[in-house]
Symmetry: C2
Subunit: 355 residues, 2 copies
């Protein structure tokens, strides 16, 4: 039986990424050695890193003002390193969920943190209205909220530089980097296996803080060394390159954006039509195209377990909602084929017909 | 032709590790999904993490006083996080090379750093004598110096707690943890592909510093969450588990120690016997069993390139010395079979006979 992987993260990668990486684990670039055991300074691996950085720049149209680096670890480390590098004394954060909270917490070590708005009281089921003070060093937001199924799909219009955690929706839409001092993303939603993060940072914004920034924390260390100051996580970086190549073959960001919209329309359309289900995010504008949350409607609240078992029996996997919100969550990241979304929609229709 | 991988790092892993990890990249634990795309909170991956931690404890006989955690990134991050967590105001470091220097540099952010001794003036070709003051918070050393081919093979006898970077010789000898507040190791020499570090820390030593320790930096965060506070690097952790299983099958630490001694004796024996080569580390006590450095003898100094080409043509790979010392370096970590060491020795004998 075909398994449809709706896991929220680590999550589905393209078959191309999986197959090419598995092959390289046996013989990397014709070296006769495994990708896991070759020097990161070998010409074969340096070529992988260079091509990965170049493809990120090409796909996202990163301007000359910004640099792209690959760093070990994930986005959680950048919650700390972003303010360490960029925050002078006062910053503004938008509280749209658990990850936004974690990011905000780390900024408190460096000065004043203004929470411009929060949707906590409604279990983060919408993107709140907000105003950003003009005297902050940057405004930080989380573009996609995996747990609650909400997303900010357009670059905010504010008067200060933007810093954004795009872990779960990077490469799904174009980014206007002229507005951003920094965009960062852990790899394990839309790029590669866990263990690497991409940081895209405006070089001019670095070196402006008064505090001492330790070597490994300073983004300039990694920019100067071409992401090779220390040994990079070679397997995740190689896998990232395969995904980037696959993205390019899908028509780049424009192609992915179109495909993602079609997948989201198909699934939200069925949730809204099917009387057994409903979406906890009322405003369609706020609904995530990456993580589609849905729960049983009131009159069918007792059938949650039955639907879970039915859909599981049909090969649906990883679609349970986060424990803090319950219900279901279908994560339909860039690599998710529309056929898998259709398979889930078919389950929902069949379950309705059976009940 | 069989390739013999003498790379200093990333470096040779057991064939078992390579094959099992490549298989899991296609189908992980019978899930029908790739290891790269399953949730780290799935019961299958939680079992991997639990078994990996348990096997580190079993193989190294880690006492109840210490905890084992797997952290994203490598040892370079721990150069900073070790003093962040453990240094109150004054520490002592032994300077045995480039990595020791990098570690020492990060400690300077937190107070006074005493360099107890340095072998810099002789290009780090020996382990210097030293005395550790009794009023420091800890004494830090690098047990094996990959670039210069030196190693401290026994736990130092000092009056203060030890902190040690064992990246390149962990699992090669027993460790008396009663002497250590912390041992850390990047994975890519003796355990797994780059992207994860092991930290073994005395729980009682944590929480004693006055400074605020940010969430991701605080080892207690990761101990409490069982190395799952954030998404761990799943592929390196899985590969580490395979290596640990393979270590157990080799007779554990005792078995590896015996095998490593035999490999080192074989290669140093040939270097000392063969008139064309010599070892830059004069004292056999200081010679590394992990990285065997050798250069051409004075009368054959002009044949370095010729030997490199000859040995390369026989399948030797990654055995060029570090640019700061020149010559050759054969890294013969735990996973290196004695047959590969014999193949290199055969090259040296044949080269001597031909010249």
């Amino acid at each position: 039986m075909k398994i449809h992987n709706f896991s929220a993260g680590p999550s589905i990668l393209s078959q191309y990424t999986i197959e090419e990486t598995a092959k390289a684990l046996i013989d990397f670039a014709g070296t006769g050695l495994s990708l896991m055991e070759v020097s990161h300074r070998s010409k074969e691996f340096v070529a992988v890193m260079d091509e990965a950085v170049a493809l990120v720049k090409e796909l996202l149209e990163v301007p000359e003002t910004h640099e792209v680096i690959f760093l070990g670890g994930g986005a959680s480390t950048q919650f700390l390193h972003a303010p360490y590098n960029l925050m002078k004394s006062k910053v503004a954060y938008l509280n749209t969920g658990a990850w936004a909270n974690k990011a905000m917490k780390e900024a408190h070590y460096f000065g004043e943190v203004i929470e411009v708005a929060s949707s906590k009281d409604s279990v983060y089921n919408h993107i709140p209205e907000y105003t950003v003070p003009s005297d902050v060093d940057y405004f930080h937001y989380t573009s996609n909220n995996t747990i609650y199924g909400t997303q900010i799909k357009e670059d905010p219009e504010v008067d200060v530089p933007l810093v954004c955690d795009m872990s779960s929706d990077i490469f799904s839409r174009p980014i206007d980097f002229s507005k951003y001092d920094m965009v960062y993303a852990g790899a394990q939603k839309n790029l590669a296996p866990a263990g690497v993060a991409i940081v895209i940072v405006r070089t001019e914004a670095l070196g402006k803080v008064d505090r001492e920034v330790p070597t490994m924390v300073d983004y300039r260390t990694h920019i100067k060394a071409g992401s090779m100051f220390n040994t990079p996580p070679v397997v995740p970086v190689f896998a990232a390159l395969q995904t980037l190549k696959w993205y390019k073959a899908q028509g780049g960001i424009a192609g992915l954006q179109k495909l993602n919209a079609a997948k989201a329309d198909l699934l939200y359309g069925e949730i809204d039509r099917n009387t057994m289900f409903k979406c906890p995010v009322p405003n369609p504008k706020d609904r995530s195209e990456m993580n589609v949350c849905f729960v049983m409607s009131e009159e069918h609240a007792d059938k949650e377990k039955a639907f879970f078992e039915f859909a599981s029996s049909k090969g649906m996997s990883g679609f349970k909602g986060h424990r803090s919100v319950g219900g279901f969550r279908a994560s339909i990241y860039n690599a998710m084929p529309i056929e898998s979304v259709q398979a889930l929609v078919d389950c929902m229709k069949e379950f309705e017909a059976n009940n």
